[in-house]
Amino acid sequence: MDLWELSLHEARELLHKGEISSRQLTEVFFQRIEAVEPRIHAFITLTKESALAEADQADDRRRREAAAPPLLGIPLAIKDLISTRGVKTTCGSRILHNYVPPYDATAMVKLRAQGAVFLGKTNMDEFAMGSSTETSHFGISRNPWDLQRVPGGSSGGSAACVAARQCSAALGSDTGGSIRQPAAFCGIVGLKPTYGRVSRYGLVAYASSLDQIGPMTREVRDTAILLEAISGHDPRDSTSAPFPVPPYESEMVRGAAGLRVGIPKEYFVAGMDREVEEAVRNSVETLEQLGMQVSEVSLPHTEYAVATYYLLATAEASSNLARYDGVKYGLRGGGDGDLPTMYMQTRSAGFGIEVKRRIMLGTYALSAGYYDAYYLKAQKVRTLIKEDFDQVFQTVDVIATPTAPMAAFKLGEKIGDPLQMYLSDIFTIPVNLAGLPGLVLPCGFTAAGLPVGLQLIGRPFEETVLLRAGYAFEQATEWHEKPAPV
Protein backbone atom coordinates (compact mmCIF):
# COMPACT_ATOMS: atom_id res chain seq x y z
CA MET A 1 0.00 0.00 0.00
CA ASP A 2 1.26 3.48 -0.89
CA LEU A 3 1.17 6.05 1.89
CA TRP A 4 -1.00 8.41 -0.15
CA GLU A 5 -3.79 5.84 0.06
CA LEU A 6 -4.10 6.41 3.82
CA SER A 7 -7.10 8.32 5.10
CA LEU A 8 -6.49 11.04 7.67
CA HIS A 9 -7.17 8.87 10.72
CA GLU A 10 -5.09 5.99 9.34
CA ALA A 11 -2.17 8.36 8.80
CA ARG A 12 -2.67 9.68 12.33
CA GLU A 13 -2.36 6.13 13.76
CA LEU A 14 0.85 5.38 11.86
CA LEU A 15 2.36 8.75 12.80
CA HIS A 16 1.39 8.13 16.40
CA LYS A 17 3.01 4.68 16.43
CA GLY A 18 6.14 6.14 14.86
CA GLU A 19 5.83 3.84 11.82
CA ILE A 20 5.94 6.79 9.44
CA SER A 21 7.10 10.37 9.72
CA SER A 22 5.28 13.48 8.63
CA ARG A 23 8.24 14.22 6.35
CA GLN A 24 7.74 10.86 4.60
CA LEU A 25 3.99 11.36 4.30
CA THR A 26 4.36 14.90 2.98
CA GLU A 27 6.96 13.86 0.39
CA VAL A 28 4.72 11.02 -0.76
CA PHE A 29 1.79 13.42 -1.26
CA PHE A 30 3.97 15.73 -3.34
CA GLN A 31 4.99 12.72 -5.48
CA ARG A 32 1.32 11.92 -5.89
CA ILE A 33 0.57 15.55 -6.74
CA GLU A 34 3.30 15.52 -9.40
CA ALA A 35 1.81 12.36 -10.87
CA VAL A 36 -1.86 13.35 -11.09
CA GLU A 37 -1.99 17.15 -10.88
CA PRO A 38 -1.35 17.67 -14.63
CA ARG A 39 -4.63 15.83 -15.25
CA ILE A 40 -6.68 17.17 -12.30
CA HIS A 41 -5.46 20.74 -11.68
CA ALA A 42 -6.83 20.86 -8.14
CA PHE A 43 -4.38 23.49 -6.86
CA ILE A 44 -3.81 27.15 -7.59
CA THR A 45 -0.71 27.36 -5.38
CA LEU A 46 1.55 24.60 -4.04
CA THR A 47 3.73 25.31 -1.00
CA LYS A 48 6.20 22.45 -1.03
CA GLU A 49 9.06 24.22 0.70
CA SER A 50 7.05 25.45 3.70
CA ALA A 51 5.14 22.14 3.86
CA LEU A 52 8.35 20.14 4.24
CA ALA A 53 9.54 22.56 6.92
CA GLU A 54 6.20 22.18 8.73
CA ALA A 55 6.52 18.39 8.46
CA ASP A 56 9.99 18.47 10.01
CA GLN A 57 8.72 20.68 12.83
CA ALA A 58 5.84 18.25 13.38
CA ASP A 59 8.21 15.27 13.57
CA ASP A 60 10.38 17.18 15.98
CA ARG A 61 7.39 18.13 18.15
CA ARG A 62 6.21 14.52 18.22
CA ARG A 63 9.55 13.45 19.66
CA ARG A 64 9.26 16.10 22.38
CA GLU A 65 5.57 15.94 23.33
CA ALA A 66 3.90 12.90 24.82
CA ALA A 67 0.32 13.86 23.90
CA ALA A 68 0.33 14.83 20.24
CA PRO A 69 -2.69 16.71 18.83
CA PRO A 70 -4.70 14.66 16.29
CA LEU A 71 -3.61 16.73 13.28
CA LEU A 72 0.10 16.91 14.12
CA GLY A 73 2.00 16.29 10.88
CA ILE A 74 -1.14 15.67 8.79
CA PRO A 75 -0.89 17.13 5.24
CA LEU A 76 -3.91 19.26 4.34
CA ALA A 77 -5.10 21.33 1.37
CA ILE A 78 -6.91 24.63 1.89
CA LYS A 79 -9.48 26.29 -0.37
CA ASP A 80 -8.05 29.48 -1.81
CA LEU A 81 -10.48 31.84 -0.13
CA ILE A 82 -9.32 30.96 3.38
CA SER A 83 -6.67 33.50 4.36
CA THR A 84 -3.19 32.06 4.82
CA ARG A 85 -0.54 34.34 6.21
CA GLY A 86 2.30 34.77 3.73
CA VAL A 87 0.69 32.49 1.12
CA LYS A 88 -1.22 33.90 -1.86
CA THR A 89 -5.01 33.79 -1.42
CA THR A 90 -6.62 34.52 -4.78
CA CYS A 91 -10.25 33.41 -4.36
CA GLY A 92 -9.87 32.15 -7.93
CA SER A 93 -10.02 35.75 -9.12
CA ARG A 94 -7.81 37.96 -11.26
CA ILE A 95 -8.58 40.84 -8.91
CA LEU A 96 -6.69 39.05 -6.09
CA HIS A 97 -4.14 37.25 -8.29
CA ASN A 98 -1.24 38.73 -6.29
CA TYR A 99 -2.85 39.11 -2.84
CA VAL A 100 -0.83 37.74 0.09
CA PRO A 101 -2.78 37.97 3.38
CA PRO A 102 -0.87 39.45 6.32
CA TYR A 103 -2.85 37.24 8.72
CA ASP A 104 -4.33 33.75 9.09
CA ALA A 105 -8.01 32.87 9.18
CA THR A 106 -9.03 31.58 12.62
CA ALA A 107 -9.51 28.08 11.17
CA MET A 108 -5.88 28.23 9.98
CA VAL A 109 -4.67 29.44 13.38
CA LYS A 110 -6.35 26.42 14.97
CA LEU A 111 -4.88 23.97 12.46
CA ARG A 112 -1.42 25.47 12.79
CA ALA A 113 -1.67 25.18 16.59
CA GLN A 114 -2.16 21.43 16.12
CA GLY A 115 0.90 21.26 13.88
CA ALA A 116 -0.85 20.40 10.59
CA VAL A 117 1.10 20.57 7.32
CA PHE A 118 -0.20 22.71 4.43
CA LEU A 119 0.40 21.41 0.91
CA GLY A 120 -1.23 24.26 -0.97
CA LYS A 121 -4.29 26.28 -1.89
CA THR A 122 -7.04 24.70 -3.95
CA ASN A 123 -8.87 25.85 -7.04
CA MET A 124 -12.42 27.15 -6.84
CA ASP A 125 -15.09 29.07 -8.68
CA GLU A 126 -14.23 32.77 -8.57
CA PHE A 127 -15.22 34.10 -5.12
CA ALA A 128 -17.06 30.77 -4.60
CA MET A 129 -19.65 31.77 -7.21
CA GLY A 130 -20.32 28.68 -9.23
CA SER A 131 -21.15 24.99 -9.06
CA SER A 132 -18.46 23.54 -11.32
CA THR A 133 -15.10 25.30 -10.65
CA GLU A 134 -15.28 26.48 -14.27
CA THR A 135 -15.41 30.18 -13.30
CA SER A 136 -11.90 30.17 -11.78
CA HIS A 137 -9.51 32.69 -13.32
CA PHE A 138 -6.80 30.03 -13.03
CA GLY A 139 -8.40 27.39 -15.24
CA ILE A 140 -10.74 24.47 -14.68
CA SER A 141 -10.28 21.45 -12.41
CA ARG A 142 -11.28 17.98 -13.55
CA ASN A 143 -13.21 15.22 -11.81
CA PRO A 144 -10.89 12.31 -10.85
CA TRP A 145 -13.68 9.83 -11.73
CA ASP A 146 -14.03 11.15 -15.29
CA LEU A 147 -11.68 13.79 -16.62
CA GLN A 148 -14.32 15.11 -19.03
CA ARG A 149 -16.56 16.07 -16.12
CA VAL A 150 -16.58 18.85 -13.55
CA PRO A 151 -15.57 18.14 -9.94
CA GLY A 152 -18.50 20.31 -8.83
CA GLY A 153 -18.08 23.62 -7.09
CA SER A 154 -17.30 25.93 -5.77
CA SER A 155 -14.87 23.86 -3.62
CA GLY A 156 -14.04 21.71 -6.68
CA GLY A 157 -10.27 21.79 -6.16
CA SER A 158 -10.57 20.63 -2.54
CA ALA A 159 -12.97 17.82 -3.51
CA ALA A 160 -10.85 16.70 -6.47
CA CYS A 161 -7.58 16.61 -4.51
CA VAL A 162 -9.14 14.55 -1.70
CA ALA A 163 -10.68 12.14 -4.25
CA ALA A 164 -7.39 11.91 -6.18
CA ARG A 165 -5.52 11.24 -2.92
CA GLN A 166 -3.32 14.32 -3.18
CA CYS A 167 -3.72 15.21 0.52
CA SER A 168 -5.02 13.65 3.75
CA ALA A 169 -8.02 16.01 3.81
CA ALA A 170 -9.03 19.52 2.81
CA LEU A 171 -10.98 22.53 3.94
CA GLY A 172 -13.71 23.97 1.74
CA SER A 173 -16.41 26.57 2.22
CA ASP A 174 -20.14 26.32 1.63
CA THR A 175 -22.57 29.16 0.91
CA GLY A 176 -25.20 27.29 -1.12
CA GLY A 177 -23.71 23.81 -1.38
CA SER A 178 -20.08 24.49 -2.25
CA ILE A 179 -18.72 21.76 0.04
CA ARG A 180 -21.51 19.23 -0.32
CA GLN A 181 -22.15 19.21 -4.07
CA PRO A 182 -18.46 18.75 -5.03
CA ALA A 183 -18.11 16.13 -2.26
CA ALA A 184 -21.00 14.21 -3.86
CA PHE A 185 -19.60 14.66 -7.40
CA CYS A 186 -16.15 13.42 -6.31
CA GLY A 187 -17.28 10.60 -4.01
CA ILE A 188 -15.94 11.97 -0.74
CA VAL A 189 -17.30 13.12 2.64
CA GLY A 190 -18.09 16.81 3.17
CA LEU A 191 -19.71 18.71 6.01
CA LYS A 192 -21.24 22.17 6.08
CA PRO A 193 -21.36 23.02 9.79
CA THR A 194 -24.20 24.92 11.44
CA TYR A 195 -23.95 28.64 10.72
CA GLY A 196 -21.80 30.02 13.54
CA ARG A 197 -20.09 26.71 14.41
CA VAL A 198 -16.81 27.65 12.67
CA SER A 199 -15.40 31.17 12.75
CA ARG A 200 -15.62 33.07 9.47
CA TYR A 201 -12.72 35.34 10.43
CA GLY A 202 -10.33 35.28 7.49
CA LEU A 203 -12.80 33.50 5.21
CA VAL A 204 -13.09 35.92 2.30
CA ALA A 205 -16.76 36.91 2.34
CA TYR A 206 -19.23 35.97 -0.39
CA ALA A 207 -22.60 35.98 1.42
CA SER A 208 -21.92 36.59 5.09
CA SER A 209 -25.22 35.27 6.45
CA LEU A 210 -24.68 31.91 4.70
CA ASP A 211 -20.92 31.21 4.45
CA GLN A 212 -19.30 28.46 6.54
CA ILE A 213 -15.91 26.71 6.41
CA GLY A 214 -16.03 22.92 6.65
CA PRO A 215 -14.09 19.65 6.25
CA MET A 216 -13.79 17.62 3.02
CA THR A 217 -12.37 14.17 3.71
CA ARG A 218 -12.14 10.52 2.72
CA GLU A 219 -14.13 9.16 5.67
CA VAL A 220 -16.65 10.33 8.26
CA ARG A 221 -14.15 9.92 11.09
CA ASP A 222 -11.76 12.29 9.32
CA THR A 223 -14.52 14.88 9.09
CA ALA A 224 -15.21 14.54 12.83
CA ILE A 225 -11.51 15.06 13.60
CA LEU A 226 -11.22 18.16 11.40
CA LEU A 227 -14.51 19.64 12.60
CA GLU A 228 -13.41 19.30 16.22
CA ALA A 229 -10.20 21.12 15.32
CA ILE A 230 -11.72 24.14 13.56
CA SER A 231 -14.95 24.71 15.54
CA GLY A 232 -15.57 27.07 18.41
CA HIS A 233 -16.39 30.59 19.42
CA ASP A 234 -14.13 33.35 18.13
CA PRO A 235 -14.22 36.91 19.48
CA ARG A 236 -13.12 37.99 15.98
CA ASP A 237 -16.38 36.76 14.41
CA SER A 238 -19.43 38.22 16.13
CA THR A 239 -21.63 35.63 14.40
CA SER A 240 -19.67 32.67 15.77
CA ALA A 241 -21.68 30.76 18.36
CA PRO A 242 -20.62 30.87 22.01
CA PHE A 243 -21.36 27.16 22.50
CA PRO A 244 -18.90 24.47 23.62
CA VAL A 245 -17.45 22.10 20.99
CA PRO A 246 -18.47 18.47 21.57
CA PRO A 247 -15.87 15.68 21.22
CA TYR A 248 -17.18 14.79 17.76
CA GLU A 249 -14.93 11.80 17.15
CA SER A 250 -15.81 9.96 20.36
CA GLU A 251 -19.50 10.89 20.11
CA MET A 252 -19.63 9.69 16.50
CA VAL A 253 -19.24 6.02 17.45
CA ARG A 254 -22.22 5.99 19.83
CA GLY A 255 -24.44 4.31 17.25
CA ALA A 256 -27.43 5.45 15.26
CA ALA A 257 -30.15 2.90 16.07
CA GLY A 258 -33.37 4.60 17.07
CA LEU A 259 -32.66 7.86 15.26
CA ARG A 260 -35.73 9.12 13.41
CA VAL A 261 -35.02 9.91 9.75
CA GLY A 262 -37.32 12.02 7.60
CA ILE A 263 -37.43 11.75 3.80
CA PRO A 264 -38.82 14.99 2.31
CA LYS A 265 -41.06 14.19 -0.63
CA GLU A 266 -40.16 17.53 -2.30
CA TYR A 267 -36.57 16.30 -2.77
CA PHE A 268 -37.57 13.56 -5.19
CA VAL A 269 -38.64 15.71 -8.09
CA ALA A 270 -39.46 15.15 -11.73
CA GLY A 271 -36.42 15.58 -13.92
CA MET A 272 -34.11 14.07 -11.35
CA ASP A 273 -31.55 11.53 -12.56
CA ARG A 274 -33.06 8.06 -12.02
CA GLU A 275 -29.79 6.42 -11.02
CA VAL A 276 -29.16 9.12 -8.41
CA GLU A 277 -32.65 8.67 -7.01
CA GLU A 278 -32.23 4.90 -6.88
CA ALA A 279 -28.90 5.12 -5.04
CA VAL A 280 -30.38 7.49 -2.48
CA ARG A 281 -33.51 5.34 -1.99
CA ASN A 282 -31.32 2.26 -1.48
CA SER A 283 -29.30 4.18 1.11
CA VAL A 284 -32.47 5.03 2.97
CA GLU A 285 -33.18 1.29 3.18
CA THR A 286 -29.72 0.80 4.63
CA LEU A 287 -30.45 3.44 7.27
CA GLU A 288 -33.61 1.51 8.13
CA GLN A 289 -31.68 -1.77 8.39
CA LEU A 290 -29.34 -0.01 10.81
CA GLY A 291 -32.25 0.52 13.18
CA MET A 292 -33.22 4.06 12.21
CA GLN A 293 -36.92 4.85 11.89
CA VAL A 294 -37.69 6.22 8.46
CA SER A 295 -40.77 8.26 7.60
CA GLU A 296 -41.86 10.63 4.85
CA VAL A 297 -41.91 14.34 5.73
CA SER A 298 -42.74 17.52 3.87
CA LEU A 299 -40.75 20.75 3.36
CA PRO A 300 -43.35 22.61 1.31
CA HIS A 301 -41.31 25.72 0.49
CA THR A 302 -38.39 23.81 -1.06
CA GLU A 303 -39.23 24.97 -4.58
CA TYR A 304 -38.70 28.60 -3.55
CA ALA A 305 -35.23 28.10 -2.10
CA VAL A 306 -33.17 28.69 -5.26
CA ALA A 307 -34.97 31.97 -6.05
CA THR A 308 -34.58 33.10 -2.42
CA TYR A 309 -30.91 32.21 -2.38
CA TYR A 310 -30.03 33.96 -5.63
CA LEU A 311 -31.54 37.19 -4.34
CA LEU A 312 -30.06 37.09 -0.83
CA ALA A 313 -26.63 35.72 -1.72
CA THR A 314 -26.14 38.13 -4.62
CA ALA A 315 -27.35 41.10 -2.54
CA GLU A 316 -24.83 40.26 0.18
CA ALA A 317 -22.16 39.64 -2.46
CA SER A 318 -22.73 42.99 -4.15
CA SER A 319 -22.07 44.65 -0.81
CA ASN A 320 -19.15 42.42 0.24
CA LEU A 321 -17.37 42.73 -3.10
CA ALA A 322 -17.56 46.53 -3.05
CA ARG A 323 -14.23 46.38 -1.20
CA TYR A 324 -12.36 45.42 -4.38
CA ASP A 325 -11.68 48.94 -5.54
CA GLY A 326 -7.96 48.80 -6.39
CA VAL A 327 -6.94 50.99 -3.44
CA LYS A 328 -5.28 48.83 -0.79
CA TYR A 329 -4.56 45.43 -2.39
CA GLY A 330 -5.08 43.36 -5.50
CA LEU A 331 -5.38 44.54 -9.07
CA ARG A 332 -5.54 48.26 -9.88
CA GLY A 333 -6.63 49.54 -13.26
CA GLY A 334 -6.81 53.07 -14.67
CA GLY A 335 -4.68 54.62 -11.94
CA ASP A 336 -3.93 57.63 -14.14
CA GLY A 337 -7.54 58.81 -14.47
CA ASP A 338 -9.93 60.00 -11.78
CA LEU A 339 -11.09 57.86 -8.86
CA PRO A 340 -14.41 56.58 -10.34
CA THR A 341 -12.52 55.58 -13.50
CA MET A 342 -10.00 53.69 -11.41
CA TYR A 343 -12.81 51.82 -9.60
CA MET A 344 -14.57 50.98 -12.88
CA GLN A 345 -11.44 49.82 -14.68
CA THR A 346 -10.17 47.82 -11.71
CA ARG A 347 -13.44 45.97 -11.24
CA SER A 348 -14.20 45.47 -14.92
CA ALA A 349 -10.77 43.96 -15.57
CA GLY A 350 -10.55 42.09 -12.26
CA PHE A 351 -13.88 40.26 -12.03
CA GLY A 352 -14.97 37.40 -14.28
CA ILE A 353 -18.37 37.17 -15.93
CA GLU A 354 -20.20 35.12 -13.25
CA VAL A 355 -19.03 37.45 -10.47
CA LYS A 356 -20.17 40.47 -12.49
CA ARG A 357 -23.51 38.79 -13.15
CA ARG A 358 -24.09 38.20 -9.41
CA ILE A 359 -22.94 41.68 -8.42
CA MET A 360 -25.38 43.07 -11.02
CA LEU A 361 -28.28 40.94 -9.78
CA GLY A 362 -27.55 41.79 -6.14
CA THR A 363 -27.17 45.48 -6.84
CA TYR A 364 -30.48 45.43 -8.71
CA ALA A 365 -32.25 43.59 -5.86
CA LEU A 366 -31.02 46.20 -3.37
CA SER A 367 -31.58 49.26 -5.56
CA ALA A 368 -34.18 51.94 -4.96
CA GLY A 369 -37.66 50.77 -5.89
CA TYR A 370 -36.79 47.06 -5.94
CA TYR A 371 -35.62 46.44 -2.36
CA ASP A 372 -39.07 45.46 -1.03
CA ALA A 373 -40.05 43.44 -4.08
CA TYR A 374 -36.89 41.36 -4.16
CA TYR A 375 -34.56 41.56 -1.15
CA LEU A 376 -37.17 41.93 1.59
CA LYS A 377 -39.46 39.40 -0.08
CA ALA A 378 -36.62 36.88 -0.20
CA GLN A 379 -35.82 37.46 3.49
CA LYS A 380 -39.44 36.68 4.31
CA VAL A 381 -39.44 33.50 2.24
CA ARG A 382 -36.23 32.57 4.05
CA THR A 383 -38.30 32.60 7.24
CA LEU A 384 -40.84 30.23 5.68
CA ILE A 385 -38.08 27.84 4.56
CA LYS A 386 -36.56 27.85 8.03
CA GLU A 387 -39.97 27.22 9.62
CA ASP A 388 -40.44 24.17 7.37
CA PHE A 389 -37.32 22.66 8.91
CA ASP A 390 -38.27 23.69 12.48
CA GLN A 391 -41.58 21.92 12.01
CA VAL A 392 -40.10 18.70 10.61
CA PHE A 393 -37.40 18.53 13.29
CA GLN A 394 -40.10 18.26 15.92
CA THR A 395 -40.74 14.71 14.72
CA VAL A 396 -37.44 13.55 13.21
CA ASP A 397 -33.75 13.82 14.17
CA VAL A 398 -32.23 13.70 10.69
CA ILE A 399 -33.44 14.51 7.19
CA ALA A 400 -32.00 12.35 4.39
CA THR A 401 -31.96 13.63 0.81
CA PRO A 402 -30.03 13.48 -2.45
CA THR A 403 -27.22 16.06 -2.61
CA ALA A 404 -27.81 17.12 -6.21
CA PRO A 405 -30.38 16.08 -8.83
CA MET A 406 -27.61 14.57 -10.97
CA ALA A 407 -24.12 13.09 -10.81
CA ALA A 408 -21.14 15.15 -12.08
CA PHE A 409 -22.03 16.86 -15.35
CA LYS A 410 -19.77 17.39 -18.35
CA LEU A 411 -17.31 20.28 -18.58
CA GLY A 412 -18.99 23.09 -20.50
CA GLU A 413 -22.45 21.53 -20.18
CA LYS A 414 -24.03 24.23 -18.01
CA ILE A 415 -21.60 27.13 -18.06
CA GLY A 416 -23.53 28.96 -20.80
CA ASP A 417 -26.86 28.80 -18.95
CA PRO A 418 -26.62 30.43 -15.50
CA LEU A 419 -30.13 29.47 -14.42
CA GLN A 420 -29.55 25.77 -15.16
CA MET A 421 -26.28 25.96 -13.22
CA TYR A 422 -28.08 27.59 -10.27
CA LEU A 423 -30.75 24.88 -10.26
CA SER A 424 -28.11 22.18 -9.69
CA ASP A 425 -27.93 23.52 -6.10
CA ILE A 426 -31.62 22.96 -5.41
CA PHE A 427 -31.10 20.38 -2.60
CA THR A 428 -28.21 22.06 -0.82
CA ILE A 429 -29.36 25.69 -0.77
CA PRO A 430 -32.24 25.30 1.75
CA VAL A 431 -29.75 24.06 4.36
CA ASN A 432 -27.72 27.30 4.14
CA LEU A 433 -30.84 29.46 4.22
CA ALA A 434 -31.92 27.73 7.45
CA GLY A 435 -28.37 27.75 8.89
CA LEU A 436 -28.40 23.98 9.47
CA PRO A 437 -25.56 21.43 9.39
CA GLY A 438 -25.42 19.14 6.34
CA LEU A 439 -23.25 16.04 5.93
CA VAL A 440 -22.66 14.42 2.53
CA LEU A 441 -21.19 10.96 2.11
CA PRO A 442 -20.73 8.45 -0.73
CA CYS A 443 -23.82 6.26 -1.23
CA GLY A 444 -23.47 4.62 -4.64
CA PHE A 445 -22.43 4.94 -8.25
CA THR A 446 -24.21 5.47 -11.54
CA ALA A 447 -23.83 2.87 -14.29
CA ALA A 448 -21.16 5.12 -15.82
CA GLY A 449 -19.18 4.86 -12.56
CA LEU A 450 -19.88 8.36 -11.23
CA PRO A 451 -20.27 8.75 -7.46
CA VAL A 452 -23.58 9.66 -5.81
CA GLY A 453 -23.78 11.44 -2.46
CA LEU A 454 -26.32 11.10 0.34
CA GLN A 455 -27.09 14.31 2.25
CA LEU A 456 -28.00 14.17 5.95
CA ILE A 457 -29.41 17.38 7.45
CA GLY A 458 -29.64 18.01 11.19
CA ARG A 459 -30.88 20.48 13.78
CA PRO A 460 -28.67 23.49 14.52
CA PHE A 461 -25.47 22.44 16.36
CA GLU A 462 -26.37 18.73 16.13
CA GLU A 463 -23.43 17.78 13.91
CA THR A 464 -22.95 14.89 16.33
CA VAL A 465 -26.22 13.30 15.25
CA LEU A 466 -25.24 13.56 11.58
CA LEU A 467 -21.83 12.06 12.27
CA ARG A 468 -23.40 9.16 14.21
CA ALA A 469 -25.80 8.38 11.36
CA GLY A 470 -23.11 8.90 8.73
CA TYR A 471 -20.55 6.77 10.53
CA ALA A 472 -23.04 3.92 11.00
CA PHE A 473 -23.92 4.10 7.30
CA GLU A 474 -20.25 4.14 6.30
CA GLN A 475 -19.48 1.13 8.49
CA ALA A 476 -22.28 -0.80 6.78
CA THR A 477 -21.32 0.11 3.21
CA GLU A 478 -18.24 0.08 0.99
CA TRP A 479 -18.86 3.05 -1.28
CA HIS A 480 -16.15 5.14 0.37
CA GLU A 481 -13.49 2.47 -0.19
CA LYS A 482 -13.43 2.57 -3.98
CA PRO A 483 -10.65 4.86 -5.23
CA ALA A 484 -11.12 7.20 -8.18
CA PRO A 485 -9.51 5.73 -11.32
CA VAL A 486 -7.20 8.68 -11.92
Binding site: N98, Y99, P102, Y103, T194, Y195, G196, S209, P235, S238, T239, A241, P242, Y304, A307, Y310, L311, A322, D325, G326, V327, Y329, G330, L331, R332, G335, D336, D338, L339, P340, M342, Y343, M344, R347, S348, I353, K356, R357, I359, M360, L361, T363, Y364, S367, Y374, L376, K377, A378, Q379, K380, V381, T383, L384, K386, P418, L419, Y422, L433, A434, P460
Partner: protein, 95 residues
Protein backbone atom coordinates in the same frame (compact mmCIF):
# COMPACT_ATOMS: atom_id res chain seq x y z
CA UNK B 1 -39.93 40.94 -14.97
CA UNK B 2 -38.10 42.30 -18.01
CA UNK B 3 -35.07 44.47 -17.47
CA UNK B 4 -34.08 47.00 -20.13
CA UNK B 5 -30.56 47.72 -21.45
CA UNK B 6 -30.87 51.19 -19.86
CA UNK B 7 -31.58 49.62 -16.45
CA UNK B 8 -28.64 47.26 -16.90
CA UNK B 9 -26.43 50.25 -17.63
CA UNK B 10 -27.74 52.06 -14.54
CA UNK B 11 -27.13 49.05 -12.29
CA UNK B 12 -23.63 48.63 -13.75
CA UNK B 13 -22.89 52.23 -12.86
CA UNK B 14 -24.10 51.67 -9.27
CA UNK B 15 -21.89 48.57 -9.04
CA UNK B 16 -18.90 50.44 -10.56
CA UNK B 17 -18.69 48.06 -13.51
CA UNK B 18 -18.03 49.18 -17.08
CA UNK B 19 -19.82 46.86 -19.52
CA UNK B 20 -19.03 46.50 -23.20
CA UNK B 21 -21.88 46.14 -25.72
CA UNK B 22 -21.75 42.35 -25.73
CA UNK B 23 -21.85 42.17 -21.91
CA UNK B 24 -24.74 44.64 -21.75
CA UNK B 25 -26.73 42.62 -24.28
CA UNK B 26 -25.98 39.34 -22.49
CA UNK B 27 -26.82 40.66 -19.00
CA UNK B 28 -30.07 42.20 -20.25
CA UNK B 29 -31.14 38.78 -21.50
CA UNK B 30 -29.81 36.70 -18.58
CA UNK B 31 -30.95 39.02 -15.79
CA UNK B 32 -34.43 39.12 -17.36
CA UNK B 33 -34.50 35.30 -17.33
CA UNK B 34 -33.32 35.14 -13.71
CA UNK B 35 -35.78 37.83 -12.57
CA UNK B 36 -38.61 36.01 -14.36
CA UNK B 37 -37.62 32.90 -12.41
CA UNK B 38 -37.42 34.63 -9.00
CA UNK B 39 -40.86 36.16 -9.60
CA UNK B 40 -42.20 32.79 -8.46
CA UNK B 41 -41.70 34.12 -4.90
CA UNK B 42 -44.80 36.26 -5.53
CA UNK B 43 -46.90 33.09 -5.43
CA UNK B 44 -46.42 33.23 -1.65
CA UNK B 45 -48.36 35.53 0.66
CA UNK B 46 -45.73 36.91 3.03
CA UNK B 47 -47.73 39.84 4.37
CA UNK B 48 -47.57 38.44 7.90
CA UNK B 49 -44.07 36.93 7.78
CA UNK B 50 -41.10 38.47 9.61
CA UNK B 51 -37.94 38.68 7.49
CA UNK B 52 -34.90 36.58 8.49
CA UNK B 53 -31.50 38.21 8.18
CA UNK B 54 -29.72 36.00 10.68
CA UNK B 55 -30.57 32.40 11.58
CA UNK B 56 -28.81 31.83 14.88
CA UNK B 57 -30.21 33.52 18.02
CA UNK B 58 -27.15 35.62 18.88
CA UNK B 59 -27.82 39.30 19.39
CA UNK B 60 -25.96 42.42 20.50
CA UNK B 61 -22.48 40.99 20.62
CA UNK B 62 -20.18 43.29 22.55
CA UNK B 63 -16.52 43.14 23.46
CA UNK B 64 -14.48 45.18 25.89
CA UNK B 65 -13.08 48.32 24.26
CA UNK B 66 -9.44 47.53 24.81
CA UNK B 67 -6.39 48.62 22.89
CA UNK B 68 -4.91 45.63 21.06
CA UNK B 69 -2.27 44.96 18.48
CA UNK B 70 -2.77 46.21 14.96
CA UNK B 71 -0.98 45.50 11.70
CA UNK B 72 2.43 47.15 11.36
CA UNK B 73 2.50 49.74 8.57
CA UNK B 74 4.85 47.72 6.35
CA UNK B 75 2.51 44.72 6.47
CA UNK B 76 -0.58 46.83 5.88
CA UNK B 77 1.10 48.31 2.80
CA UNK B 78 2.68 45.08 1.55
CA UNK B 79 -0.20 44.45 -0.89
CA UNK B 80 -0.65 48.07 -1.93
CA UNK B 81 -0.79 48.62 -5.71
CA UNK B 82 0.79 52.08 -5.18
CA UNK B 83 2.43 52.59 -1.79
CA UNK B 84 4.00 55.98 -1.18
CA UNK B 85 5.29 57.61 2.01
CA UNK B 86 3.50 55.05 4.21
CA UNK B 87 0.20 55.65 2.39
CA UNK B 88 -1.78 54.23 -0.53
CA UNK B 89 -1.49 56.59 -3.48
CA UNK B 90 -4.82 57.17 -5.29
CA UNK B 91 -5.99 59.58 -8.00
CA UNK B 92 -6.77 63.11 -6.88
CA UNK B 93 -10.32 63.36 -5.47
CA UNK B 94 -10.60 67.07 -4.63
CA UNK B 95 -10.13 69.99 -6.98
Amino acid sequence: MKITPQEVEHVAKLARLALDDAEREMFTRQLSDILAYVDKLNELDTSRVTPTSHVIPVQNVFRPDEVGESLPVEEALANSPAPEHNHHRVPKIVE
